[in-house]
């Protein structure tokens, strides 16, 4: 159980982190630089999973992605497949729950850059896209890396929404936090201890790394 849930957790969290990093940087940039009506409202929407009970977020995810859900139903119509109770569902839950940390970190990192650098880049003939990759992203890298580490950790620990949308199927959707739950209710303290130790170790390392990364975030 330990090894299976460990492998599954790594798969789910890796996929979630790749999605989160890409989406989080894009949204962070949009909220930091975008000037459009309803910007803060939209930003709040993406922060919501941070404060909502994960089971409530999980419930909304079922409403969206379940077999009869708003997105889930048309997918089921066309493909006969539903994401609920698959490992991909665990990825969706991990993405949605961990994305706020990534968006907040990326936005703060991008906003902390003196806009003069980007303007200087434009005067030197560089496009917005080139400036983003050559100036904005490198200058925001520490805050963005901190966001990746934080959202990785959050995704690794995700329990409530995963349970709701993906269920608790050993070998298929049972990630480490779910495996701990299973181990405890079935009285298998040994397994629970091993899993708890692994998760605690990873979390301590992540918090330490985040502290290291954010220490110099305002250096520029």
């Amino acid at each position: 159980m330990v090894w299976e849930s460990f492998k599954l957790s790594i798969l789910v969290v890796t996929a979630a982190t790749i999605v989160n990093a890409t989406l989080g940087i894009a949204l962070g940039l949009l909220f930091a630089k975008g000037r459009f009506f309803g910007r803060e409202l939209l930003a709040s929407f993406f922060t919501l999973p941070l404060v909502l009970p994960p089971t409530v977020t999980g419930f909304f995810l079922i409403v969206m992605f379940g077999r009869h859900g708003l997105i889930g139903a048309p997918i089921y119509e066309v493909t006969g497949w539903t994401v609920a109770f698959t490992w991909q569902a665990a990825v969706i839950a991990a993405v949605v729950l961990a994305l706020p940390l990534m968006v907040l970190s990326a936005r703060a990192a991008i906003e902390s850059i003196n806009p003069q650098y980007e303007i200087a880049s434009y005067t030197l003939g560089k496009s917005h896209l080139a400036t983003f990759f050559l100036i904005t992203l490198p200058l925001a890298r520490r805050g963005i890396l901190a966001g990746i580490v934080l959202s990785f950790t959050r995704a690794l620990g995700e329990f409530g929404a995963t349970f709701m949308l993906a269920g608790n199927i050993p070998g298929r959707t049972q990630t480490m936090p779910l495996a701990i739950y299973e181990a405890v209710i079935s009285g298998d303290n040994k397994q629970a201890q091993v899993l708890a130790l692994i998760l605690t170790g990873v979390s301590v390392a992540a918090v330490y790394l985040t502290a290291k990364l954010t220490k110099g975030v305002l250096r520029y």
């Binding site: 003069q116 650098y117 303007i119 200087a120 880049s121 005067t123 003939g125 560089k126 496009s127 200058l139």
Partner: protein
């Protein structure tokens, strides 16, 4: 160059600040002079395309950058304006040499490097090209900033109080270097300052701004008398 525009700006105090600038200059070094808050930096930003005037016409080297009537507004990237910012704004994650090479439009890496090296030696900073901006003195940053502004083959160089962060002893030397760089490249420099000594030493033409309006246009030696 022909600068003629209006821009209403929200001011810190109540109401708006109306900037109304009109002057023509094709001299070597035109001084844009005035107290702080008179609209000098805003004028540079409008020429560079960082901000958009409400109305008017901006033309540099025969090329129209902005015209409200014909709805011309060339983006910053295509204006080919060299800009030396007040705090230099050298990219902190790049070395001095990489900063200078950043805007060079040569296809091959080797050609970009060659051109960057030439500019570094022109400003006598080839020995410290590998240094990062945070490890440079104000005068060194100023030289890299000027080299970077010239690297992209601009049609004009805008300098926003480039000596304000430099100590007095280095200023005189830098003024000479700015003058000689202008002579070598032969493109107009528009130099913002509120220091009459710099204005007199460097300028061949001067525009005095006050509260957003042009107050005087003339020769620096006439406007900035020794006594001032």
């Amino acid at each position: 160059m022909q600068i003629n525009f209006r821009k209403a700006l929200a001011s810190d105090k109540s109401g708006t600040f109306n900037l109304e600038v009109s002057f023509a200059a094709d001299d070597e070094v035109t001084i844009l002079f005035g107290p702080s808050g008179s609209g000098k930096t805003t004028t540079l930003r409008a020429i560079a395309g960082i901000i958009q005037p409400d109305q008017g016409h901006i033309e540099v080297g025969g090329k129209t950058f902005f015209d409200s009537q014909t709805r011309v507004n060339i983006p910053i990237q295509d204006r080919r304006v060299g800009y030396v910012f007040q705090d230099y704004a050298l990219f902190p994650h790049l070395t001095g040499e990489q900063n200078v090479a950043y805007g060079i439009k040569e296809k091959s890496e080797a050609m970009r490097r060659d051109r960057a090296r030439q500019l570094l030696s022109l400003f006598k900073v080839e020995q410290i090209g590998g240094r990062y901006p945070q490890n440079m003195s104000g005068g060194e940053q100023q030289r890299f900033a000027l080299a970077r502004a010239l690297a992209s083959n601009p049609s004009i160089v805008l300098l926003d109080e480039p000596l304000s962060a430099v100590d007095l002893e280095t200023r005189a030397g830098l003024l000479d270097e700015i003058a000689s760089a202008q002579g070598r490249f032969g493109i107009p420099f528009l130099y913002v300052t509120h220091n009459p000594i710099e204005a007199r030493r460097l300028g061949t033409h001067a525009v005095v701004l006050d509260k957003g309006k042009v107050k005087t246009i003339g020769l620096p030696q006439d406007i900035f008398k020794q006594s001032s």
